[in-house]
Amino acid sequence: MSSHVIIKNSAVIDGALATNREQDQLDALEQGFKGVINFEQVRVEDIITLTARLAQVLAAEADFLEKMQVGKIADLQKEKIMLTNALALIKKQLPQDESFLSTLEAEQVQSLKEVITVFNVILEENYTRLNTARMVNQRVVEAVTEVVREHTQQDAYDDKGKMNSAASESMPISLNKKI
């Protein structure tokens, strides 16, 4: 299943975001969580929100990768890292927050488990797409490198009659020609 399909049909992720935060708060997420997430006191809904949002970002990234819209994934990296750092802060806070366990409700736990399940599927898909994109990119660069090397090296006899590989002038491709 592609992440595109998952994210479009993921009632879990959409529901998690809609339940826990109003639109203005969702907007605030993108501005660094100021006033939205209380890192002093861990709340399940914060974890759900951050995880669901991160899932959305990863899914979007996978979609862009699938469509080879490489430039668009750059825009996602900042939020991806920000969300990850937020979750890391929560993880750090978790063992110290004794109230966390006492405030847990079964329904919240269930919601969190569902979000995590979907998140893991999206994460795997994201990883596969990203890895494939890297490998393709590597092959293209290798192909270009081969062409350049082939073009810039010519076998010729030197003044002593020996066969040498002499470098020729660089080729226009280095000038970023569309080819």
């Binding site: 995880t51 979750l87 993880k91 063992p95 995590i116 393709v136 293209v140 270009v144 020609k177 080819i179």
Partner: protein
């Protein structure tokens, strides 16, 4: 700008525009053609001396596309190979089933051992016996079926290779034709894009079968080579040649497969050379120069992956078969079989090393002992044979035995002698030949020892005092007293006795350390007609048996019956000269023992080397068997008649010809033989014998229990400690032992057929494909071994102590219990098909095989998915045709790397967080 140059510039632009129009039209026409790539016209500035000179089609674009195309073709090979591997693995996994589910190997195995468990609880229940045989047959059939299916997959892979060869050849012919067309179009300056597409399509098809190296000529024509450099497409035609396997048996029987070759032809179509790209051979021995493509994937499946899994199946089948057979041979069914026919082909005169003992017992159909024909054995029944492999000697040393020697030993025992010579608690004393022929050696002699059988409750202690030998005129030609008969029994030279005043203790000093221990009883000869210790101890008091009370270096102490007197401490020892100190032969209660370990006798026959026969008279003494009794030993003489100029005498027993003294002769009511041990051919017909020997013929050991009148008995074997240890003696390199017991080695009572090629006609040994239940058990499930021998009551007195006669009681479940435990017992599995040597139970090994295949299947699927994703990505990238922008690509590289690092951080952080959360929830 000159006019010419200006015109030329305009023309150049026009040409480009025309070509572009043609390209656009071509794109529209071929929009739905598979494999057709969208063509673009690239333009670049054409400079002459730095001045713009119009546009030209940029060859660089094509060049980079070509490299991308190569990458795609390489991935095509990888995807095709991965696809085949994944596809076959999936089929393999379906065949093997999943652990715990119906129709899986472990389910069939479990059913078999469950049925054995039921049998262990009710060993004589016919339905349970039938159930064991039924589940065994299902297990064998399923394992065999899986192995057959795996071999069939190899056959399919081979057929697929052949199909691939045909497809590649079609494309090679196509490429030859395309090259001609491209060259022609190039010369005539005709459009080549369509031809290039066809060319690329053909190359891609070839690449899907085998990975190739591609070289483009300036014209766009191509040369194709295999990865090892063998030309496939160049100026001369080349074709692949392969002859596939003709059928499944070629794989089952490990026949060498044909090579896959590239055949080159000259312009006239004559073959010029052949190059192997896959060698001929068998399984892993086959070499390949391919590294990708479906043909290589299929070869790997055919020659490596499937044989590896088959090797695991073979090891599993062998593990089950050998473990079950080892136990099954240790017992018998009830009622026991009348005949045991081996399935191992053995050569009569081929010797192997053996050790330990095994017991063969003849009994009635109800498992009770057969009455002995000797009145002296009426309380014990017919004596069983204890085959002592440690001491049996076929002329190659003790324990180095031929099948012939074993057969002779069995027949010697069960061909009941016309008379038995008993003395005290020995019921039979026989002379045994240690020579194969008589007379032996350049100076005629005869070497022999005694075979002694004890059927009492007490151990027997025996020694020989005199041996004499007479010729056919009754003239004595040699005695032990005069030295013509020599004895190799261990003896020590006594140097002196030390006495202590008023004490019975005597220290016996020897010239070498005596091999005795405190509590041993030793026999001393009379040291001579003098008295010792100042005349108080008579020489006769130093003769006889004494118990050793102390041992110290070169001396030991005994107590004599009279105390020494009139001696003083420190009295000088009395030198008595050389005296013999004899060890006696111990025959444990209920055992039959050769005296050879305690020494043999050699009679010098030169006094009359031409005598028709020799009468060997032996004086034997046995100590009173009851250690509490003060009764003296009993002495008797037995005469054996040994005929001269005979062959094949080794281990032959000689019966008493005459006797005197305390010896008792006992004759059977009628002559009997109870077991006939023979070597038979595959049809059960006995091989011909010459001078009582099968010579170097090969056959199968058969034991048939019946007497001369045709009355049938049953035969049961107890494996005891017997063990076939291979061939180490005088064998370079040594042959590894089977470590099987006597019955298991000869495969006299297997549950699963041996799969021994010689025995079954199978060309391959030990293969799972040949696993099968023995036919006789399918015909008669009651022959399944459930119990073993037990000491029997004395036939004539059930209340008397049990005396070394064995019985097969109904209800005995000892073997059924052991068989049921085979499933959970630890056993050794040799490394096979990528699995290492291991020690585990059968279910554990099955789990390991299933897990191995499951893991490989997942890996193969994953490889296929990865290869497909990469392939799709490359195709998608190539199809984008936005051209290669090096700066953009480098920027992408950085971007991918940062996204990748961020995702790695996501994985790490969320893993930690989720673990912590689940830990809290739990």
């Amino acid at each position: 700008m000159s006019l010419f140059l200006a015109l030329n510039t305009a023309l150049s632009g026009l040409n480009v525009n025309q070509a572009a129009l043609s390209v656009v039209s071509n794109n529209i026409a071929n929009a739905n053609t598979p494999g057709y790539s969208r063509q673009v016209l690239d333009q670049s500035a054409l400079l002459v001396d730095g001045v713009g000179a119009g546009a030209r089609i940029d060859a660089i674009s094509r060049k980079i596309d070509v490299y991308l195309e190569r990458s795609i073709q390489r991935e095509t090979s990888n995807v095709s190979m991965a696809e085949k591997t994944a596809d076959y693995y999936e089929r393999i996994q379906i065949m093997l089933g999943e652990p715990g589910l119906d129709n899986s190997i472990d389910e069939y195995t479990q059913s078999f051992f469950n049925s054995l468990q039921d049998l262990a609880e009710s060993p004589d229940k016919v339905s349970f016996q039938a159930s064991v045989i039924n589940t065994a047959e299902v297990l064998a059939r399923e394992l065999s079926g899986i192995a057959t299916s795996l071999e069939d997959l190899r056959l399919q892979a081979d057929a697929d290779i052949n199909e691939g060869v045909a497809a590649v050849n079609a494309e090679l012919a196509h490429l030859d034709a395309l090259n001609v067309a491209i060259e022609r179009a190039s010369v005539l300056n005709l459009p080549t894009a369509g031809l290039f597409d066809q060319r690329d399509n053909a190359i891609e098809k070839v690449a899907s079968y085998l990975n190739v190296s591609i070289y483009y000529k300036p014209s766009g024509a191509v040369n194709l080579f295999t990865s090892s450099g063998v030309p496939l497409v160049d100026d001369a035609p080349h074709r692949l040649a392969y002859t596939p396997a003709s059928g499944l048996n070629e794989f089952v029987n490990d026949k060498a497969l044909n090579p896959l070759q590239v055949v080159s032809f000259d312009e006239r179509g004559n073959e010029t050379r052949r190059d192997d790209i896959i060698s001929a051979g068998v399984e892993h021995a086959i070499d390949t120069s391919l590294t990708g493509g479906s043909i290589e994937g299929l070869r790997e499946l055919r020659d490596e992956i499937l044989p590896d899994i088959l090797a695991q199946m073979d090891e599993l089948a062998a593990g089950i078969r050998d473990a079950v057979n080892a136990v099954h041979n240790a017992g018998s069914g009830y009622p026991p079989a009348e005949e045991l026919s081996g399935t191992r082909l053995v050569t009569a005169d081929e010797a192997f090393d053996w050790s330990g003992t095994a017991r063969i017992v003849v009994m009635n159909a109800d498992g009770s002992p057969v009455d002995s024909p000797y009145s002296s054995e009426s309380h014990t029944g017919l004596r069983p044979l204890t085959l002592n492999f440690d001491t049996l000697d076929a002329g190659l040393g003790e324990g180095v035995l031929t099948a012939q020697a074993i057969i002779n030993e069995i027949n010697n025992h069960f061909n009941a002698p016309p008379v038995k010579a008993g003395l005290n608690n020995l019921n039979n004393i026989q002379l045994v030949s240690n020579n194969n022929a008589l007379p032996a050696g350049s100076s005629p002699s005869f070497n022999f020892d005694l075979d002694l059988e004890n059927i009492s409750n007490f151990g027997s202690e025996v020694w020989v005092t005199d041996v004499s030998i007479a010729d056919d005129t009754a003239a004595v030609i040699g005695t032990s007293a005069t030295g013509e008969v020599t004895n190799t029994a261990p003896a020590y030279t006594i140097s002196s006795f030390d006495f202590t005043n008023a004490s019975r203790a005597v220290t016996v000093n020897t010239t070498t350390p005596p091999d005795v221990a405190v509590g041993d009883r030793i026999y001393l000869n009379n040291p001579g007609g003098v008295s010792y210790a100042a005349g108080t101890v008579a020489a006769a008091q130093l003769e006889g048996f004494f118990t050793v009370t102390a041992v110290n270096g070169n001396s030991f102490e005994i107590n004599i019956n009279a105390a020494a007197g009139a001696t003083s401490a420190g009295e000088a020892p009395v030198t008595v000269g050389a005296q013999a100190l004899s060890e006696y032969i111990e025959v444990d209660a209920g055992e039959k023992t050769r005296s050879k370990a305690n020494g043999t006798f050699t009679a010098d026959l030169s006094g009359n080397a031409a005598s028709t026969y020799y009468d060997v008279t032996v004086t034997v003494r046995t100590f009173n068997p009851d250690p509490d009794s003060t009764q003296a030993y009993q002495s008797g003489t037995i005469t054996y008649r040994v005929y001269n100029n005979e062959q094949g005498l080794r281990n032959d027993r000689y019966d008493a010809f005459g006797a005197s003294g305390a010896t008792v002769l006992s004759s059977p009511a009628s002559p009997h033989q109870y077991i006939f041990a023979t070597l038979v051919d595959a049809n059960g017909v006995e091989l011909s014998e010459t001078n009582g020997s099968y010579g170097n013929q090969s056959g199968y050991l058969q034991l048939t229990a019946h007497d001369l009148s045709g009355q049938e008995f049953a035969v049961v074997i107890d494996e005891g400690t017997s063990k076939q240890e291979g061939k180490v003696t005088d064998q370079v390199p040594p042959i590894k032992g089977t470590n099987r017991g006597f019955s298991h080695y000869f495969e006299l009572n297997n549950l699963f057929a041996s799969n021994n090629p010689d025995a079954t006609g199978d060309a391959k040994s030990g293969s799972a494909i040949n696993l099968a239940v023995e036919r006789r058990l399918l015909d008669n499930p009651s022959l399944i071994s459930t119990g073993s021998l037990e000491l029997s009551n004395q036939p004539n007195d059930p209340d008397a102590p049990r005396l070394y006669t064995y019985e097969r009681y109904i209800g005995n479940n000892s073997i059924a219990q052991r068989l049921a435990a085979v499933g959970t017992d630890q056993q050794s599995f040799a490394g096979a098909g990528g699995l290492p040597d291991s020690s585990q139970n059968i279910n554990g090994y099955i789990g390991e095989v299933l897990a191995f295949v499951a893991t490989q299947t997942v890996t193969a699927k994953s490889s296929f998915t990865d290869a497909t994703l990469l392939f799709d990505g490359l195709v998608s990238r190539a199809d984008a045709i936005t051209g290669v922008n090096l700066d953009e690509e480098l920027a992408n590289t950085t971007l991918y790397q940062s996204a990748y690092s961020a995702s790695a951080q996501v994985i790490s952080t969320t893993n930690d967080l989720f673990d912590a959360l689940f830990s809290i929830f739990n």
